[in-house]
Symmetry: none
Subunit: 563 residues, 2 copies
């Protein structure tokens, strides 16, 4: 039997700090989750706000291919009837085929939080489940704090489970609401439930990551026979987050060999993860299992050789299965094996683009381990790394070096002159103004213009960024408008933004003669990935400019010239 | 029996992308790990580079209280003798009480990576262990790729284990080198090993996080009786990282109830985690289990009410046990207990120095937990940390805050005005000039002078440093020489130097409106220790000036005024 997944990114995930989805975000995400093959999408808590119930009015118009929409709410209130309960009513009005109803599984919560008797809590669970079943809803009951309840009052927690089973709940989900349960405890509980003749195939699991074990606790439940798992994409959620479906799904499908409905789309896992990072405005975690940029990264030269011999010797799965890629990280120690794939990719893309236009024989031959381009790139990298550059954390700058070696690099502009002033006076707490001169090429054919730009910003980097945009974008808008060309060649700059900026002193022992290394992460609205560029100088402003210029040049070469 | 921990932050952790520790970083981290109560500190791979072996020459001079230093290397090469092996020699020359020797546990690696026979691999393990035991080393053997080996050729992997046992290895560590093993597989392997009469108490575990299960796999081994766990602080390491000791330690100690040596220091866990984040120039993960800012954060209003009724209903542990706090953005320093010793030390030093000179009663009373100074300092720290300051990694700046609260802070100077220009032209590759105005006090009694300084340097920080020295030192030399006073009051500035400079964007999601935090490490020829100061601003130059000024002021107050 297949394991089914309920994604609660839009409900429990949205409780994470700094996360807030617009209605459109929620609808877009719903469609993406459906396309990936998620079985249940918990879209919100309709009683919570008008916006939450508005989502359901729109979401039911979506043409979902596979997923069932799920509305979330709680059991009826104590000493009230189901028919009069506002929460039950809101859940019904969401008109979803499936509802999740949360009920209390810990006696202490029954007494201290909802202030009712243990018996009334059982009746609340029974009435609520029966009420939805009578109205033809599929009912998933979340037994909140089940594990805390089990370890403090086993008998009562088992009574809660039996009540839910007898009331006809389709799936009974054991929730580790406080997130502190360990995997061996989950296994222990499932063993006991089997002894109590509670069928594991009607059970599900809902974990939080407070002990860094949410993925493992979910797997422990699946190993014990549970067929239903709750989680969020990238593990977003309050405190330390919910169980991360991005790791659970491939673990269940690829490693435990259990059927999952989304397996045909598994190669879209990395893209799904990055899409949600983008929607939650999070910098993607490079170290994220399965989908991070570094998840299949290999640093040492020796490892890279082994990888090429037999990747199964060094990788736990084939990265393509989850839509990720191997990265042979280049460092001082790197051998030829690790730069060859990059050169080949650039070379082949360029060759196929140039096609018959270009009959230069050096462009048409294929690259091999002993090609001069490989040697040249390694020499270049070694020289620059000896000077403090670090390409393993700046793959976009590395790609530019590779383009230089292949003779297919076209700079967006050449900076000839800059001048920045930073001052603090009685009038201004602290202020930066900058002006610069640069030469820019208008297109591949290359009309070269001398441009000047000026900008004001907080700090030298923001100021330079503003001045460069001013020079390239605004000046050129004026030019093109004169010529009645509304499509500005540099308009793409509007879409680029700096998302992170890191500085490191490389050789602190040299004190004021020390070099600094600046790494800038950039993003573009339409791209799922960020890219990193590096600059090195004794002068932090100069290092920042190098990294900034590389960022522009990377985007220009790869996505605008598309060469 | 207690579980022991081997921290490999400095060795395997340093394989993480973008991580590179200076020698001084490594020595500082070694002392911090020791103070926390880590049992073994794997400091490096002496054969890898001169810098790695230099670490061991310095580290053995450290006065460690508890931890054993460990050097890492591999078994001897195939068909060579232990006595002639460069790697074995480098390990011995590191002169550590303990060595970690890595040996192959997967038949496929023996054949395809080192290209020798299965028998020779067993001899390599036997010879290497015996060789170190004869030289009175404690030997930990890492069986690389043990789990992959076990699942492809059980018999051989068991032979490897038996060889290591018979050769007298003190601890035999099963490594999940590719990181893809799941916790139930670890349990299964340990069950089998028990059946094979391999004593679990001689076994250890070393996991990587490629399946997001490294913590859980480590716990599975401990649950099965293993007494030795390898990991890194914050789980840094190549690909998806190593097993995270920051989660494993409290899980083992607080949840599994197993004895660990560092339990008395467990409340320093959050501080240790943040210290390593700072040293690795990483943005601390707010969601990090146990120690993240959000780990005990509660967003929903309802939750917050429950928390006030009974925190055990909503939190998996008491956050104070790991030095974390409920709510957001409050550092572990914000507890009264932790600032009191600092205030008392400063207060008592000042009181004893003032002695009978000063009869102010507020100076002579002793400080207690409820003194207004304690409350004021905590309030000040909270306000400034909410604005992005971080005092955990800047204890010199914290001391200045404490002096301010006690009314015993004397600034060396007050900066009134500065102006910096940074430019690149055809004549100058890149150049910075600065000028500034400041007010300086000549001595405790306080003749106040308006001074002006100018300087040229590489980058804004060096330029400001030069201009400040120019204003204070050179101008004043002229004055004193006129008066025939050769001992310049500011002559100590000559001895100070900047030894490290770190910059971090605090809120990258705010893009160009983001604040940067600058941390400067300073040293003085005559002092054994460096000190760190912090500045925060949207403008990197302004943040740098704050940190620079704090550095001067710290030295001036503590060592020149000696108050």
């Amino acid at each position: 039997m297949a394991v089914t997944f309920l994604d609660t990114t839009l409900r429990d995930g949205a409780q994470g700090i700094g996360i807030s989805f617009s209605l459109q975000d929620k609808l877009d995400i719903t469609e993406r989750l459906d396309a990936f093959g998620i079985d249940y999408i918990e879209g919100g808590f309709p009683l919570a706000s008008e916006r939450e119930s508005e989502y359901f009015r729109h979401a039911k118009m979506l043409n979902l291919k596979h997923a069932k929409l799920v509305a979330f709410g709680s059991t009826r209130r104590p000493d009230a009837s189901v028919d009069q309960d506002a929460n039950i009513k809101a859940l019904l009005e969401a008109e979803t085929p499936t509802v999740v109803v949360v009920g209390k599984g810990w006696d202490a919560h029954v007494h201290k939080v909802i202030g009712t008797s243990l018996e009334e809590n059982l009746r609340m669970i029974d009435d609520s489940i029966s009420g939805f079943k009578q109205r033809n809803r599929e009912v998933i009951i979340d037994i909140e704090h089940f594990f805390d309840g089990y370890f403090s009052n086993q008998d009562y927690s088992l009574q809660v489970l039996r009540t839910a089973l007898d009331s006809g709940a389709d799936r009974i989900v054991l929730c580790d609401t406080n997130g502190g349960t360990l995997p061996h405890q989950v296994s222990e509980v499932f063993d006991r439930l089997k002894q109590e003749n509670i069928p594991p195939e009607r059970l599900g699991i809902h974990c939080h990551n407070d002990a860094e074990c949410a993925v493992a606790c979910s797997l422990a439940a699946v190993a014990a026979g549970a067929l239903h798992v709750h989680g969020t994409i990238n593990g977003i959620g309050e405190r330390c987050g919910n169980a991360n479906l991005i790791s659970i799904i491939p673990n269940v499908s690829l490693k435990m060999g259990i059927e999952v409905q989304c397996s045909p789309q598994l190669s879209g896992l990395t893209e799904l993860s990055r899409y949600i990072s983008e929607k939650t405005n999070a910098v993607p975690d490079r170290k994220q299992p399965y989908v991070g940029d570094a998840a299949f990264g290999h640093k040492a030269g020796q490892h890279a050789d082994v990888i090429l011999k037999d990747s199964a010797l060094m990788e736990h799965i084939d990265s393509a299965k989850v839509g990720n890629q191997r990265h042979l990280v280049v460092s001082e120690l790197a051998g030829r094996a690790s730069v060859l794939p990059l050169l080949q990719e650039l070379h082949n893309t360029h060759k196929s683009k140039m096609g018959s236009q270009n009959s230069n024989p050096s462009q048409s031959k294929s690259l091999e381990k002993n090609s001069p381009e490989v040697r040249n790139l390694i020499r270049r990298i070694k020289t620059r790394e000896a000077g403090g550059y670090l390409y393993e954390a700046a793959e976009a700058s590395l790609e530019l070096e590779a383009r230089r070696v292949l003779g297919i690099f076209r700079p967006l502009f050449e900076m000839t002159n800059y001048h920045i002033e930073i001052f603090r006076t009685r009038e201004f707490e602290s202020q930066t103004v900058g002006r610069l001169f640069l030469k820019a090429k208008l297109d591949d054919e290359g009309e070269v213009l001398d441009l000047m730009g000026a900008g004001v910003g907080d700090g030298p980097v923001a100021t330079l960024d503003a001045a460069i945009r001013n020079a390239l974008f605004l000046n050129h808008i004026d030019d093109t408008e004169k010529d009645n060309k509304p499509n500005n060649h540099f308009a793409f700059l509007k879409e680029l933004s700096l998302v992170d900026y890191r500085v490191r002193v490389i050789n602190p022992e040299d004190a004021t003669n020390a070099c600094v290394r600046v790494v800038i992460s950039s993003a573009c609205g339409s791209l799922p990935k960020t890219w990193d560029t590096v600059g090195v100088s004794k002068n932090i402003v100069d290092a920042s400019i190098q990294a900034l210029k590389d960022s522009y040049d990377y985007y220009y070469n790869r996505f605008i010239l598309n060469q």
